[in-house]
């Protein structure tokens, strides 16, 4: 049983004051300041007046910025979908592997997750660029195919044109999937690992195929795990800064890049503050939606 704080006031104060104080002073107050700024106006080079205006939010809802918000949601959604498509079979395979293989596979999935994000993005650049390994491999295959065709008397294929894999929207999505895949695999794995396997055996015995079993038995049972995997992949992907910055082209900016520009280059703090609060609201909406789905699933189960 929990103790009420009145029974041990001194102990409670000693335990509660440092973490609550830190959270208040170094987290909630900075956020509150940003929130206040989002209703302010630039009145001089470094002075901002809190005028209570909604002009910053009005500007954020103009088509130009609305489009960037929409695009960020699409990119994060596609990233999440791709992570789910790749991550589900991987999680399934790990959950049903032998205990020893399981431990190793989990470690292998986790390890890139512990490596610095910047370094992983940088490593991806070396693989994807025009003179990177993907293009090298494709060129090798192209030349071999070309040689084979002239061998059998057909027209050779001509010079290999390297694919542009970097500095566009595709690169951003590849980068985001690369970085967020472990976020998806781990919750899926823990949901699949906890599942009652006899239900799957029953379904297979009764004549359903593997795909049918997965679709009508495994997916509904693992739904809460899938929902939380989607959430913890979607949220960081939505607010991603580094990946679109380093891998994207001029047209692949996401909302975080626009916020950064308002604070660092454009020096329009009130507008940047309004944008970052809109991003936070979007995040909270995603969390609320997930909680809603989860509660519905629990009630049904």
């Amino acid at each position: 049983m929990e103790q009420t704080w009145k029974q041990a006031k001194a102990a409670f104060a000693a335990i509660a004051v440092p973490p609550i104080g830190w959270l208040l002073f170094f987290f909630l107050i900075p956020l509150a300041v940003i929130w206040a700024y989002s209703f302010g106006e630039n009145t001089g080079p470094i002075t901002i007046d809190f005028t209570g205006t909604f002009a910053n939010y009005g500007r954020a809802l103009e088509p130009l910025y609305l489009q960037i918000f929409w695009k960020s949601i699409i990119v994060a959604g596609l990233t999440t979908l791709l992570c789910l498509i790749v991550g589900f079979p991987v999680a399934l395979a790990i959950a049903f592997a032998s205990p020893k293989a399981k431990a190793w596979l989990l470690l292998l999935i986790m390890l890139p997750f512990w490596t610095n994000l910047l370094i992983r993005t940088f490593a991806l650049i070396a693989v994807l660029r025009e003179q990177g390994y993907v293009n090298f491999a494709l060129e090798w295959m192209w030349n071999n195919a070309s040689g084979f065709m002239s061998l059998v008397g057909l027209q050779p294929l001509g010079e290999y044109e390297p694919l542009t894999l970097l500095y566009n929207n595709t690169a951003v999505i590849i980068g985001l999937v690369y970085v967020h895949l472990p976020f998806m695999v781990l919750p899926l794995y823990s949901a699949l690992d906890r599942m009652d396997r006899s239900l799957m055996e029953a379904s297979l015995d009764l004549g359903a195929g593997h795909l049918r079993t997965i679709w009508s038995v495994v997916v509904p049972l693992a739904a809460p795990g899938i929902a939380s995997g989607i959430l913890i992949t979607f949220i960081p992907a939505l607010g991603a800064y580094l990946t679109p910055d380093l891998l994207g082209g001029t047209d692949s900016q996401m909302i975080a890049n626009v916020i950064e520009r308002q604070f660092k280059r454009a020096n329009d703090w009130p507008f940047g503050a309004a944008l970052s609060f809109l991003l936070m609201y979007l995040t909270f909406i995603a969390i609320a939606a997930q909680a809603f789905v989860q509660r519905k699933a629990e009630r049904r189960g």
Binding site: E2, L23, F27, V86, F96, S98, L118, A123, L238, F284
Partner: protein, 295 residues
């Protein structure tokens, strides 16, 4: 048919028995389509990192074609004073961030686990906020806070000038520690605490001799998490760092912006190796603790 399907299901808990037979229906890991998917996924995850590490030993400056083995880039990276300073800064920040986060996280976990008090749900909710708020929002909040509300004095002697970054890192790291420690505390038997008090131990003594040893695996896991979170962070540091307080990721970022040299490969390889060693040590410690308890 049904009989055959039944007999081919391996008995639960003895995977060895089925090792040489046809894979059972639920042994997805032994079916080739899934093996191919897992293999390709691991290739996708590791190919970039491995090429980066291998080509940090390449003689060629253009670092695409393999020309010969050299360790020159490591020598260069270690002689690059600003890179080395950034690396030491990062380690220092990560160290202080870990110490403070573990203390605050453990206190927060004990508070939420042990006490009932008015406004508890509000406190719980706010504690979860740093985990879910997008990094960029926290970054700009810290930028404004340290620029306007609480300016960090410029020109302080070395570890002190990292204070602002360390504070920012603690703010997002300690709720993670609290979550991990609280999960560990849920398995604690409260009667032990009461027994200690009945036998005359003070509040402080009970905390230190009964509760802390029980929390230990959670504290280690939390410390590891705080350390890597701090070492990994780019966005928040990017906004909080002043011109003279550059950390390793921020330095690598600016090097990337100007030119890609194999020096960056070498420096990144060092960081990857450091992280892998730390992870291995952490996992080892976590595996050992329960065994000691049982003995």
């Amino acid at each position: 048919m049904a009989d055959q399907a039944l007999t081919s299901i391996p008995p639960v808990g003895s995977p060895k028995a089925a090792a040489k037979e046809k894979p059972g229906p639920l042994e997805y890991m032994r079916q080739w389509p899934l093996r191919v998917i897992v293999g390709l996924t691991l290739l996708f995850l590791y190919l970039p990192l491995i090429t980066l590490m291998v080509f940090s030993f390449n003689t060629s400056r253009r670092n695409i074609v393999w020309q010969g083995f050299t360790t020159d880039w490591y020598v260069k990276a270690f002689n690059n004073d600003s890179l080395l300073q950034a690396f030491i800064n990062s380690l220092m920040i990560a160290f202080f961030c870990t110490v403070i986060s573990v203390i605050l996280g453990a206190l927060a976990a004990v508070m939420l686990w042990r006490f009932r008090f008015p406004g508890k749900t509000v406190v719980e909710g706010s504690m979860a906020l740093p985990i879910v708020v997008p990094e960029i929002c926290l970054g700009v909040a810290m930028l404004v806070f340290f620029a306007r509300v609480m300016p960090w004095p410029m020109g302080l002697p070395w570890p002190l000038n990292l204070g602002a970054i360390t504070i920012a890192h603690v703010s997002f790291a300690f709720p993670f520690v609290a979550t991990v420690v609280r999960a560990r505390l849920s398995s604690f038997n409260r009667e032990l605490e009461e027994a200690a008090k009945d036998l005359g131990a003070s509040e402080w003594r009970t905390f230190w001799d009964v509760l802390v040893p029980h929390m230990q695996p959670g504290l280690i896991a939390g410390a590891l998490l705080a350390f890597t979170l701090s070492l990994d962070d780019f966005v928040i540091t990017f906004f909080t760092a002043g011109p003279d307080t550059i950390t390793f990721p921020v330095k690598v970022y600016s090097m990337l912006r100007f030119s890609v040299t194999p020096e960056v490969n070498a420096a990144s390889t060092v960081l990857i190796v450091v992280t892998v060693i730390l992870t291995a040590v952490g996992l080892q410690m976590q595996n050992n603790t329960p065994k000691e308890k049982k003995a």
